[in-house]
C-alpha cells in the first residue's frame, strides 16, 4: 500500500479480501467435514420437511454451530427460491 493510498483512504487491498473470504469458506468446509454427525442427517430431515411445501435444494440450507461463552448456538438459514412469494429467510435460533 502506498503512502498516498493510505492518506487518501483508498480502497481495501485485495489480499485482505482474499484472506477474509478464505477464512469464512474454510470454516464452513471444516464444519461440514468435522461437525457432529447428526447435523448432516438433521439437515436432510429439515430439507424433507421444507421440501413438502417449497422446492429448495440442499445447497440453500446452511447450518452453523457456534459457541458463545458457554452457550452453543445452532443457526439455520434456509434460502427460499425467488419464485416463492413471501421470499426471504426462515431463521430458527436456539
Amino acid at each position: 500500500m502506498t503512502l498516498l493510498d493510505y492518506l487518501l483512504g483508498r480502497k481495501k487491498k485485495t489480499a485482505s479480501v482474499a484472506k477474509e473470504r478464505l477464512q469464512i469458506i474454510l470454516a464452513r468446509e471444516h464444519f461440514d467435514r468435522d461437525g457432529p454427525d447428526f447435523l448432516v442427517a438433521m439437515k436432510k430431515d429439515i430439507l424433507d420437511v421444507v421440501g413438502k411445501y417449497v422446492a429448495v435444494d440442499l445447497d440453500r440450507i446452511q447450518v452453523t454451530l457456534d459457541k458463545n461463552g458457554d452457550t452453543e448456538i445452532l443457526e439455520l438459514n434456509i434460502l427460499l427460491p425467488d419464485t416463492h412469494k413471501p421470499s426471504g429467510k426462515v431463521q430458527v435460533l436456539r
Binding site: T2, A15, L22, L26
Partner: protein, 269 residues
Amino acid sequence: MAKIIVVTSGKGGVGKTTTSASFAAGLAKRGHKTVVIDFDVGLRNLDLIMGCERRVVYDFVNVIQGEATLVQALIKDKRVDTLNILPASQTRDKDALTQEGVEGILEQLKQTHDYIVCDSPAGIETGAIMALHYADEAIVVTNPEVSSVRDSDRILGILAAKSKRALDGLEPVKEHLLVTRYDPSRVDQGQMLSIEDIQELLGISLIGVIPESQSVLQASNAGLPVILDEGSDSGQAYQDFVARFLGEERPMRFLEAERKGFLKRLFGT
C-alpha cells in the same frame, strides 16, 4: 527405514511436479538413495521435467501388471547417481493403479531406497488418493492465491481422513507447507496473500518459500530439475527446503521485495 513423502496440492499447475523433481534431486544430491514416482496416470510429465523422456521404456503400470520388472522400469538419473525415476503410464485406463499393486511396488522400493517421493496428480481422484495413501510425510504445495489455498485445505482434510496412517490409527502424516510462486513485491502492495496469511489459514508448519522466478520455466525447458540450477533464486530456495526437510535450521529467504525508492513508495508502480 525408508520414508515415503507425497507431494500434493489438490489444485493443478501449482508446482507439484517441479517440486517433486527438485526435492528428489536435492535429497539424492546429498547422498540419499531416492526414487521419485509419477502417479499421474495418463498425463505423464515428470519424465520431461527430469529430462529423461526419451529413456522411458516401461512404466509404473507395466510393473503393476507384471509386464516388466521394477528394475527394468526404473530410470537412473544421469546427473545424480543415487536418483531413480519411475515414470507414469500413458494409458487412459483410470483403474490401472490398484491399491495392492502400488503397495507391492512401494514395498520393493523401500528395500533399496532411503526416500520415496510420490508426485501426486491434481484433483482428488484415484491417482491422488493412491499417491497420498502410504505417505509418512506430505509436502503441500500452495500458491498465494484463493483457489490453491482452498484446495490445499481440502487435501489436508483427505490426508487426515483417508491416508493409511489415519485409517490404521497411527501417528498422523507429518504435513509441511511449501509456498511456491511467491512474489514479495505484490504482497507488499496488498495484491497477494502473505506467507503469514497462508500459514494462518492452513495451520501447518512452513518448510519453504519458492519465489516466482524465470528460472523455473527455463529449467523445465532444458529438462533440468531447477534445484540443479544452483545459482538461481528458486534453485537456492529449493536447496533450503531440502535442508530443512533433513532437519537443518535455515532462515527463510526471498521474503522481501527489493527496496523501492521514496517516490515509488509514495505513488506506487
